[in-house]
């Protein structure tokens, strides 16, 4: 009896092939496109999560709607327009470039250019007013350097 059962067991496990797991989505390529788009969209009911990551009901509903629209052949742009018509720009994590967001998108670069421009002007001006040593000071400096070389407290290593 034991042998019969054992044989049966071997037979059944042998007969059940370990299969390659199918993708969770029906259309993995579409799903990837959906997730890519959804990762730039905001979940409206969450505390700052993307539509791709959120597990909220509304997020699932919206993802389902987006999936249907993608299957129907709509472009990413059309889908985002569809969403902003209903929920406003709030739903976009990439803020559109509008008159109200010009400062946002170009501000940092304007600041950078201004910063570098100031830098160049400043460096030019500094070179022009480099302090000049008088002859006396020069002599004093030489004397101090000589002392330093002869065993006073160790100065910094150059270039550290």
């Amino acid at each position: 009896m034991r042998w019969l059962l054992l044989g049966l067991l071997c037979l059944t496990t042998g007969l059940t092939p370990a299969k390659e797991a199918p993708p969770a989505a029906d259309d993995p390529v579409l799903e990837q496109r959906l997730m890519r788009l959804a990762s730039e969209l905001r979940c409206l009911v969450c505390q700052n999560e993307t539509l791709a990551d959120s597990r909220a009901d509304l997020a699932a509903d919206l993802r389902s709607q987006i999936r249907d629209q993608m299957k129907a052949g709509r472009s990413d742009e059309e889908i985002t327009t569809w969403l902003t018509q209903r929920y406003g720009d709030f739903v976009l994590y990439r803020p559109p470039v509008k008159s109200t967001t010009v400062l946002l998108w170009f501000g940092p670069f304007v600041l950078l250019v201004a910063g570098i421009a100031w830098l160049l002007v400043y460096l030019q001006r500094r070179r022009a007013v480099a302090p000049q040593l008088s002859a006396d000071d020069h002599a004093r400096a030489q004397a101090l350097l000589r002392d330093a070389d002869s065993g006073a407290p160790e100065p910094d290593r150059p270039g550290v």
């Binding site: 509903d61 018509q85 209903r86």
Partner: protein, 177 residues
């Protein structure tokens, strides 16, 4: 001129402070509706009481009406429901209900238990019409004018203060035109 630039950080900070101070009285969670002053999205949905019949928003042209998004599973809806029931009794403005992502039996039972302020309630079991209206939470209430244009959206429960200060004056104004 030279010492003026050292005051710049302080000035920038002062401006920032002003914005942060204003920010304390804002509500970052509330999403304003982009549909204000735009035509109400079309729908044709089955009535809650009689699923064989449908209601479309076109049928409601010519009158000022409220669209109240509710559900039997919604806790905050309990807060505003008595207010809506009272409003319905006055007959000032018809209230149409959008039963959002709900089961018919649960919805009917809930209305039976808490009162039915709705002229008609329609079922949106998948929430698609809700999405068209930009619904992201329950309850929400819209004021729609005679031409079918959305004029106001209330996010969250309707309170007596909101009714008297914001919704009813608008309704009266729209009804007069």
């Amino acid at each position: 001129m030279k010492s003026l630039r050292f005051i710049l950080p302080l000035l920038v900070f002062a401006v920032l402070l002003l914005f942060l101070w204003t920010g304390l009285s804002l509500k970052p969670h509330e999403i304003p509706s982009p549909l204000i002053d735009k035509p109400a999205p079309t729908f044709e949905l089955a009535r809650l009481d009689d699923p064989t019949k449908t209601v479309s928003e076109r049928q409601l042209h010519g009158q000022v009406w409220l669209l109240n998004v509710w559900a039997s599973w919604c806790v905050s809806c309990m807060q505003e429901h008595p207010v809506l029931v009272e409003l319905a009794k006055t007959g000032v403005v018809p209230i149409y209900g959008l039963d959002y992502k709900d089961k018919r039996a649960d919805a009917l039972a809930w209305l039976g238990k808490h009162g039915n302020p709705y002229t008609v309630s329609i079922s949106d079991p998948e929430g698609r019409v809700g999405i068209d209206y930009g619904v992201y939470g329950v309850p929400e209430t819209y004021v729609i004018d005679r031409a079918g244009v959305i004029r106001y959206k209330q996010i969250g429960p309707v309170t007596p203060e909101l009714l008297s200060e914001a919704i009813l004056p608008l309704v009266r104004k729209l009804q007069a035109s």
